[in-house]
């Protein structure tokens, strides 16, 4: 039963950021490859303030502030750069953030990470985290679904299809992009407030490029832009990832097998969704 609660708890540490990125990458077709870069800034801001002040409120506000500022910066880049340039730029910025965290040992403890992270008083067991995660996930899914169905969601989809036509109809590209990035930033903040308390430890290794690949996998497999589809694919992928721990293989073999399996899943998902991931422009 603990495994079940653990899986639910993990969902809360991943789903908000994945659904937020689904809004940008899945719905908006914006080649933003840096959500994990924003994540690493947000989580270290949150935890460093928490360890310094022992105040969860201040830590949450610090994480939110950094997350929203970084998201606005990436939104500005998305307005300025071509799509493939944006993709490369966001990967580069993610790696710069990672490099700073790894090398600024006096502040971040480098590759060793930060241990002994305190938890909120009411979060004692895996079941408590599972309950909190479940509640957050339901609320976030409803919020994202509402946004998806709203005028804002339609504006984002219109911009992804044809920017000029959408702008000629009065859609403000800057406002829509910034809003999408800010919403995703809020999702990242939630995740980076819960996850470190769950494992009571943060490490730069959890914020490498493979973490972003997992997000892409969930979005592509679940149908880019679909809130319920991405939610379902995230659940299935988390269950698969955790269930693989019980496969009776040596760790030196299990790790590579997992990589190959997830690579095949991603390739299969892209092949299956090749017409939806980056759709052809509609013509009259």
């Amino acid at each position: 039963m603990d495994f079940f609660w653990h899986t639910i708890a993990l969902l809360g540490t991943l789903l908000p950021s994945i659904l937020g990125h689904n809004l940008i990458f899945g719905k908006g077709k914006i080649l933003h490859f840096g959500p994990v870069g924003i994540s690493i800034l947000s989580v270290y801001a949150t935890i460093l303030v928490l360890m310094a002040t022992q105040s969860f409120t201040l830590a949450l506000l610090a994480g939110l502030g950094i997350s929203l500022l970084a998201s606005l910066f990436f939104a500005w880049l998305s307005l300025r750069l071509d799509p493939d340039a944006l993709g490369v730029m966001t990967i580069a910025l993610h790696l710069v953030a990672l490099s700073i965290v790894l090398n600024w040992s006096s502040l971040t403890h480098g590759a060793l990470g930060i241990p002994r992270i305190p938890r909120l008083p009411f979060l004692d067991s895996v079941f408590d985290f599972a309950l909190l995660s479940f509640g957050i996930c339901i609320l976030w899914i409803l919020f994202m679904w509402r946004i998806d169905r709203s005028a804002f969601g339609r504006q984002l989809a219109a911009l992804s299809e044809h920017e000029w036509h959408a702008e000629s109809l009065g859609i403000d590209r800057m406002k829509v992009h910034c809003s999408a990035f800010l919403i995703a930033g809020a999702g990242i903040t939630i995740v980076n407030f819960i996850y470190p308390q769950y494992v009571m430890f943060i490490s730069p290794n959890d914020y490498q490029f493979p973490a972003f690949v997992f997000m892409v996998m969930a979005i592509v497999a679940g149908k880019p832009g679909s809130v319920l589809g991405v939610t379902l694919s995230t659940v299935l992928l988390i269950v698969l990832k955790e269930a693989l721990r019980f496969v009776p293989l040596a760790p030196s073999i299990l790790g590579p097998v997992r990589l190959i399996l997830f690579g095949l899943i991603l390739f299969g998902a892209v092949y299956w969704r090749r017409d939806v991931l980056f759709p052809q422009r509609r013509s009259v």
Partner: protein, 292 residues
Amino acid sequence: MQLIINALIAGSLAALIAGGLSLVYGTLGVFNLALGQMVLIGGYATWWLHQEIHLPLSISIIGGLGVGAILSWATFEICVEPFWKRHRFLPLVTTIALSMILDGIILLLFEERPRAILPGLKDPLNILGANINDAQIGLITITLLLLIGFAYVLHSTPFGRKLRAVVQHPHAAQSLGINAPKLNRLIFILSGMLAACGGIYQGIDQNLTPTLAFPITIKAYAAIIAGGKGHFWGAILCAYLIALLEQLAIGVPWFGGHYISAGYQQTVALLFIVVFLLFKPTGLFVSRTRTA
């Protein structure tokens, strides 16, 4: 002087990889994020042939190049061409998937231990106060010869002219009877062989580890972005420039005698990407398309 020699060594490796990649990016506009893994597989294949099967080094190198060519051909047929026709950003995601698969295969077959094609200490020579061993001299010389040879083919042969035509304007080239799809395939295979050369170079000069893949990919992309889209010589020059700046960043005392930590060495390539994309996204050398 040692810094310049180090830059020459590191730059030669990056130049081999970035050169081939610039042609692929110039013709197809495709980002191959499995490039680092393709580099490593060329090197690991050579290691296996030389160290495990005990073939002579020259035969092992040919074998490694052959494996690189086959792998890049398979990558093109499976991960690039079927998706590129639908949208040019799809191969970006398929090559991410391929990179995960290749990472897993490398770890399964070769484990995480460093592997050197020519293990053991090499005796350094002292040239103008800088230490360099004969393997490194050989590698730099071969890289320069390869680049000169490629320059001759590219600029002085009919095949090279067709290649340049396809890089400049694939549709116009096709309208003149040049088989652009076939040349695209050939360019991709060529870039794979150059990548395998880079892996062999890395395996001979230092060693091969699975963690090298992504930094190699990023450095290559930094060179092609700084050099300009499809500009072969721009990418080569910027590869050497990035290597030089990396050496200067950590080897020279800055701001009153402080040395920048070696951990920031890879950040130089990343900052190259950031600065160029923000202020000069077309790169240093813009390939102008001729218009009527």
